[in-house]
């Protein structure tokens, strides 16, 4: 079991907003992709952004992380404004991203991929804790190339490497995409365990069934805006909306 005491930001401050986003707009060159995103994530929560392909979910994560240079509005993390910061500075505040399609580096072996992100704060998981969480990774550590791992192993590697850093706010972009049901279940259990150990997680998902098992709250993103939000307990009452916006 991962030691709760070592997990960053244990839920002592549960309930306080860790991330507040107001009127976030972003552009890829001339293309205006986010048109005023508003939502918040409280400490210790798992919040899921739902929406169709191209709705602006990934762009929202990238904008929070500072990976889209042209953006306006307000992104406050732990009381600090991130909108003018570069992504390396944001990462050093304890924000980590597990990108869409995992971002495993072909020129690095599995061990190098795992150890790549530097420690940004104390309290990151040790290698032993990582291997306890993802036993498969220990067996594959000597593999030559990170990209030679299976899709599920690559996803675990992508999550594992940000857990080492000491970041307390994790953004996971479609972690179940293209994975077998048994692996999806394993990732779901991992997210629930991380939540229980004090991590705050912002999830982007198209797999609504999966998201409903791990999220505390949902926001629906459509055409670069958050158009609705509700708690997991209000899920049944909002199924019609989900049918309309997501076709689920």
């Amino acid at each position: 079991m991962v030691d709760v005491k070592t997990a960053p930001d244990a839920p002592a401050k549960a309930g306080a907003p860790l991330l507040e986003i107001r009127d976030l707009q972003a552009w890829y060159g001339e293309s205006h992709v986010l048109h005023g995103i508003n939502f918040e994530v409280k400490t210790g929560e798992v919040v899921t952004l739902l929406g169709r392909n191209g709705a602006g979910k990934t762009s929202t994560l990238k904008s929070i992380m500072g990976m889209i240079p042209k953006r306006t509005g307000s992104v406050r993390f732990d009381g600090r404004e991130l909108i003018k910061m570069h992504s390396d500075k944001i990462a050093r505040l304890g924000v980590a991203i597990c990108p869409e399609e995992r971002g495993i580096f072909a020129s690095l072996n599995v061990h190098e991929n795992l150890m790549l992100p530097p420690t940004v704060r104390s309290g990151g998981l040790s290698t032993e804790q990582i291997f306890e969480l993802f036993p498969n990774l220990k067996e594959r550590l000597s593999s030559s190339q990170g990209t030679k791992l299976s899709g599920g192993e690559q996803q675990m590697l992508a999550i594992a490497r940000i857990l080492r850093t000491g970041a307390r706010f994790l953004m996971l972009d479609e972690p179940t995409e293209g994975l077998a049901p048994v692996i999806i279940q394993q990732i779901g259990r991992t997210i629930q365990r991380l939540k229980s150990e004090g991590f705050t997680i912002l999830l982007v998902e198209q797999n609504f069934r999966f998201a409903s098992t791990v999220a505390d709250r949902f926001y629906i993103v459509e055409h670069g805006k958050v158009i609705d939000g509700f708690a997991n307990s209000e899920l049944q009452a909002n199924m019609d909306k989900l049918h309309t916006y997501l076709g689920v």
């Binding site: 990976m67 390396d88 990462a91 580096f105 020129s107 690095l108 790549l116 940004v120 850093t165």
Partner: protein
Amino acid sequence: MQALYAQLLVGLINGSFYALLSLGLAVIFGMLNIINFAHGALYMMGAFCAYFLLNGLGLNYWYALVIAPVAVGIFGMVLERTLLRWLAGLDHLYGLLLTFGIALIIQGVFQNYFGSSGLPYAIPSQLQGGMNLGFMFLPVYRGWVVVFSLVVCIATWYLIERTRLGAYLRAATENPNLVRAFGINVPRMITLTYGLGIGLAALAGVLSAPINQVRPLMGADLIIVVFAVVVIGGMGSIMGSVITGFALGVVEGLTKYFYPEASNTVVFVLMVLVLLVKPTGLTGRAT
């Protein structure tokens, strides 16, 4: 037979310069995606830096071996910060044209002040003389150049392929945005990498000064062959550049012995053959 060994040694020495220069080019291309045509001019600046240190400040070859790569490397970093950075994300052609222009300006300035003829630079006293190996006479300085270049090439390879910093560099070559989102200052790393590549060129310039004299166009003569070496080895491949550099130096030396008429063209013939059979170069990967 003595002549054959002598040509092999000349080949190894030329190979040392090819390896150091193509290594720097490969590092810069791999990280910055820039075909650095200014490399030859910066190699020449390394040699001139050694000349100025000796004749202006009285600092000998051993000081030059450290100071010249650092000084020219810093000059390279200023170039990257002020000029090359603006070309990020643009077609390779822009970088090639800009660095070609930079090379012409640097060479023009040095030619204006020092003419085209060579300035002498003495072999350091500790490395003068030679050794009779039985089958050939080995000038000590030339042996030093080969061994020192090999050590530098292996150290650079180790830095890039076996260290954490090297892992950052390789990862940033693939996906700089993601590496930066992990908390690594990628723009600063790019500047330092360019400085490292230029420092290697300047180091080759210092090593070359006692053998080839110090001339404003010494880099221009060499850079075309070095580009052929990089293309044969595979653009961006560190080890490929080093091995190909030494190997082609030796091939050139052997050609001088067996068929001297082809010695100036053999590298380019090999380049055409490699491009026909394996367009990514001998050790390069398709992207």
